[in-house]
C-alpha cells in the first residue's frame, strides 16, 4: 500500500460509492455516496422505509449491492479474512442462538475471529463486562430478556475491540435506563473505533454522532457533520414566553433592534413555537458571542426568556427535509 493510500485509508474508514439496491421492482437504496472518517461516529438517519437498514446491511456485507460498492478499511465487506477482528456488527433483528449459553456463544464468536482458545474466554468476558452483563455468562441466550439479549449482541460486536463498529438500531425497544446504558457503552468506544449507527432516535444520534447521512426514500438528502446538519454554527433559537394572554411575546421594534446587532443575517419570529430564530455570519462571529449579545438586548427589553438553543436540532432538520 502506498503512503498516499495509507493516509487515505486513515481519513476514511468506510466508503460507499453509488450504492444502489433493488428488490425486484422496488428501489430500496438509490445511488448513495458517503464517507465516514476514521474514529468518528456517523449516523444513518431516516424515517421508516427510508433504506437505512438496507444500506446498513450492504455495509455489513449481508446484502449484495445491485450497483455501486462499499469499502471498509479499504476492503469489500465480504473480505472476511482481511477484516477479521477489525469489524464488529450489531445487526438489528438477528436472534441469538437460543440453545447456546451466553459465554459459550461469545467464546465461539471470539474464536472465529482468530482468537486462541485461552484468550477467547478472556476476550468474551471483557466484551460482556463492557455491556455490564458479566452475570449472564451461564444463561441460555433463549432465556434472556430483550434488553439483555440486545446487550449480548452488542458484546459480540465489541469482541476484540474492532476498528469499525456497525450498529443497527442499538437501542430500539429498550427501556430508557437500558437504552442509556447502551448509549454509554457506545460512547465509551468513541474515538477508539469508527462507529456507524443507524437509528430512529434522533436525540440519541445528535448526542453520540459527529456526522450523519439523512436518507429518505432510498436517496441521500443531506450529509455532513452534525454541526452542519443542525446549523449550530450559523443559527441560534431563543424561546420566549408571552407577556400575557393575547399579547405578542416580542414586538417588531425589538426584532428590528436584534437585526441591527452586528454580524446578524436574519431575525425571524416563529409565532407557533414562540421562538426567535437568529441567523448570523459564521465567518465573522460564533454562536456563543451572538447568544450573549441577543440575550443582553432581550433582557434589557424585559423579554421573558424560556430557553436558548444552538442550531435547529436534528429532529427539526430531519422533519424539514424528509
Amino acid at each position: 500500500m502506498s503512503p498516499a493510500s495509507v493516509s487515505r485509508a486513515f481519513e476514511s474508514a468506510v466508503r460507499a460509492r453509488r450504492l444502489t439496491k433493488r428488490f425486484g421492482a422496488t428501489l430500496a437504496v438509490d445511488d448513495l455516496t458517503f464517507e465516514v472518517g476514521a474514529g468518528s461516529v456517523f449516523g444513518l438517519i431516516g424515517p421508516n422505509g427510508a433504506g437505512k437498514s438496507t444500506t446498513f446491511s450492504m455495509l455489513a456485507g449481508y446484502l449484495q449491492p445491485t450497483y455501486g460498492s462499499v469499502e471498509i478499511l479499504g476492503w469489500a465487506p465480504t473480505a472476511v479474512d482481511a477484516l477479521r477482528c477489525r469489524v464488529g456488527v450489531l445487526p438489528q433483528d438477528a436472534v441469538l442462538p437460543t440453545t447456546d449459553r451466553v459465554g459459550e456463544f461469545l467464546v465461539h464468536m471470539a474464536r472465529l475471529q482468530g482468537t486462541s482458545k485461552n484468550k477467547a474466554r478472556e476476550s468474551a468476558e471483557r466484551a460482556l463486562d463492557d455491556v455490564s452483563g458479566r452475570d449472564w455468562w451461564n444463561e441460555r441466550c433463549g432465556h434472556l430478556s430483550h434488553g439483555m439479549a440486545k446487550r449480548v449482541v452488542l458484546a459480540q460486536a465489541f469482541l476484540g475491540n474492532p476498528d469499525v463498529l456497525l450498529l443497527d438500531e442499538p437501542t430500539a425497544g429498550l427501556d430508557p435506563r437500558v437504552a442509556w446504558e447502551v448509549r454509554q457503552s457506545i460512547l465509551a468506544k468513541k474515538g477508539r473505533s469508527t462507529i456507524i449507527v443507524s437509528s430512529h432516535n434522533l436525540n440519541e444520534l445528535e448526542e453520540v454522532c459527529d456526522a450523519a447521512a439523512i436518507i429518505d426514500r432510498g436517496r441521500l438528502v443531506a450529509t455532513g457533520s452534525m454541526a452542519e446538519l443542525t446549523a449550530t454554527h450559523e443559527e441560534i433559537r431563543v424561546k420566549v414566553a408571552s407577556a400575557g394572554p393575547n399579547e405578542a411575546p416580542i414586538g417588531p421594534t425589538r426584532l428590528a433592534a436584534l437585526r441591527a446587532l452586528g454580524d446578524i443575517k436574519t431575525v425571524d419570529l416563529d409565532e407557533d413555537r414562540l421562538e426567535i430564530v437568529v441567523r448570523f455570519d459564521r465567518s465573522r462571529t460564533d454562536a456563543e458571542t451572538v447568544i450573549a449579545r441577543v440575550l443582553r438586548l432581550l433582557l434589557d427589553e424585559q423579554v421573558r426568556i424560556s430557553g436558548v438553543t444552538k442550531g435547529r436540532g436534528l429532529e427539526k432538520r430531519v422533519m424539514e427535509i424528509t
Partner: protein
Amino acid sequence: MTPLSEVSLVTWREVRKSFRSAKGAALAVISILGGGAMSMTFAWLDRLRREQAANIALAQSSTGIDPHRAQVELFSRWYGQPNMGTALADCPYALWMMLVATLWLAPLLVALMTFDAVSAELQRGTVRFWAVRARRSSYLLGKALGAWLAVLAVSLAMNVIVWITAATVGHQSGFYIVGWGLRFFAVVVPVTAAWCSIAVLVGSQLKTPMVSLLTLCATFFAFWVLHIAAAMTKNGWLNWAYPSAYDALFLSPDPGDIGRGLLGIGVIIGLSIGAAIFAFDRRDL
C-alpha cells in the same frame, strides 16, 4: 485463520446444537427407541428364520435344499450380482436387515435433522453473526459436516442397539457381530454424507424451516421415484443419482466397485456442496 479452522469450529458447534435443541434431543430419543424396536423385530425375525432353516435342514436330506445356498441365492438376487451372495452369505441377518432399514430411512432422518440447520438461521438472522467472521463457504461446509456427524451419531446409536441385541440373542460372537456391524455401518457413512449434502443445498436456499422440510421431503421423494423408475425401466444409470442405491457397490468384494461407489457419491457431494456454496455466496442474508 484458515478455512479449515473455520469449518471445524462451525462443525463442532453444529453437532452440539443438534443434540442440545429440543428437536435434536427428541429425534435422538425417537431414533434410539426406534432402533430398539427394530432390533427386537429383527431378532424375532432372525429366530424365526433360524427355526425355518433348522426345519429346512431336517428336510434337506429328502429335498436336497441347502440353507447356506439359499442365503447366497437371496443376496445374489437382492443385489443383482452373483458375487454378492457369496460375500454376504455368512452375515448376521438382523444386521443386514438393519442396514437395509437404515438406508431406506436415511433420507427421512437426514431431512428431519438438517431441514432447519441453515434455513432457521436465515429466518432468524442468526447467520449474520457468522457472516462477518467466517467465509460463507466455511459456514455452509461446517453446517453440512455438523449435520452429517449428527446423523451418523444417531444412526450409529441405532445400529449399536441392534448389534447388542444380535450378540445377546443370537448364536454368533460379539466380535463377529461388531465386525459385520462396522462393515455395514461403513456403507451408511458415505450414503448419509450424500443425503446431507443434498439437504444442505436445498435447505440453504430457503428461509422458512417448514418450507425447507417440505421441499426436502419432496426432493428426496423425487429421488426415490427416480430410483424406482430406474428399477422398472432397467435404466441402471438412473440409480447413480440415488445415494441409497450405492450399497451394492460398497458391499461388493470387488475393490473396483467400492472405488466406483466412492466416485459416484463424491460426485453427488461435490455437485451439491459446490452448488450450495455458489448460491449461498451470492445470496442476501
